[in-house]
């Protein structure tokens, strides 16, 4: 078994309203100068028979929506 991480982030050109809201909340705890973008982090326990091509396929077909999100697959 291998551990694989898939990180999914809104594309840079997509307005990330959740990240903006978090950024604004930071100023309420007295921290300024931080801009947040919010994404998703998936941890996969992967059988050794699953190849990289399959991992990229599931990332692009299901874990991320390529219309609005970028993704990165990392084998740990």
């Amino acid at each position: 078994m291998a551990r694989v991480v898939v990180d999914v982030m809104p594309k840079p050109e997509i307005l990330d309203v959740q990240g903006q809201a978090v950024s604004r909340a930071l100023t309420r705890i007295g921290v300024s100068g931080i801009e947040v973008r919010q994404g998703k982090h998936f941890e996969l326990e992967v059988d050794d028979s699953v190849d990289d091509e399959t991992l990229h396929r599931i990332a692009g077909d299901l874990l991320a929506n390529p219309v609005i999100e970028d993704w990165k697959v990392t084998r740990l």
Binding site: I14, L15, V17, Q18, A21, L62, L63, N65, V67, I68
Partner: protein
């Protein structure tokens, strides 16, 4: 004329959609998400709600349900399909419609009566309206902000594939005030507002939503 209405786990508006189908004079046929069977219906409505609790992304998991494989195959053969709210999100996730629906600009769940302009009155679901006609139907969602890549946007605007546009105020920051879009052949339509809630003055702000359900009667 038989029109299927799909129920997923978490669907809310299937009962109202079926009622709208009956008001239009057709027979409503309940379709179940787990079945590979469209029961020979002439058209399909994918109703609103929170299928699979909006897990992963709104509509993402429902778009892979067994019944959606049948809907995608049917749409390829010209089956009229209407996606309302979560149904619109499902049709985008299933690649039957372009673009995606994202969190509303102000993060608010917006619930109000909304004016729309019918931009394309040549689709299977809008032929009963006049082009440019304005209607008022409820809108209720938190993820209704339509976005698409610039080249996709240019394509759908250039080909007249914006079916409905918000007028009198954009509720969610949707690109170009887009409320609904159609497939290239005009058979598949999706919109965020809820025409099925505007078919009877007892419960809706108008009866102007009924036109979608009567339009499709002429399309099959």
């Amino acid at each position: 004329m038989r029109i299927g209405v799909i129920t997923f786990p978490g669907t809310l508006d299937d009962v109202d959609a079926a009622r709208a189908v009956r008001y239009a004079g057709a027979e409503a046929v309940s379709l179940w998400h787990g079945d590979h069977d469209l029961q020979g219906v002439d058209a399909v409505v994918v109703p609103g709600g929170f299928s699979y609790g909006d897990y992963l992304r709104a509509g993402a998991i429902a778009s892979l349900a067994p019944i959606m494989r049948e809907v995608v195959d049917g749409a390829a053969k010209g089956l009229p399909v209407l996606g309302i709210c979560n149904g619109f999100q499902i049709l985008c996730e299933a690649d039957l419609l372009p673009g995606a629906l994202t969190r509303n600009e102000k993060l608010h769940f917006v619930c109000r009566d909304q004016a729309l302009r019918v931009e394309n009155a040549d689709t299977a679901w809008t032929s009963g309206y006049g082009a440019g006609e304005e209607i008022v139907v409820p809108v209720k969602n938190a993820e209704g902000r339509f976005v698409a890549a610039p080249e996709t946007l240019a394509e759908i605007e250039g080909e007249g594939r914006v079916a409905f546009r918000y007028v009198g105020g954009n509720p969610n920051g949707s690109t170009n005030d887009i409320a609904g879009v159609t497939s290239a052949n005009g058979r598949v339509v999706g919109l965020m507002p809820h025409p099925e809630h505007a078919i009877d003055l007892l419960t809706g702000p108008s009866v102007q939503g009924l036109g979608l359900f009567t339009s499709v009667l002429a399309a099959v």
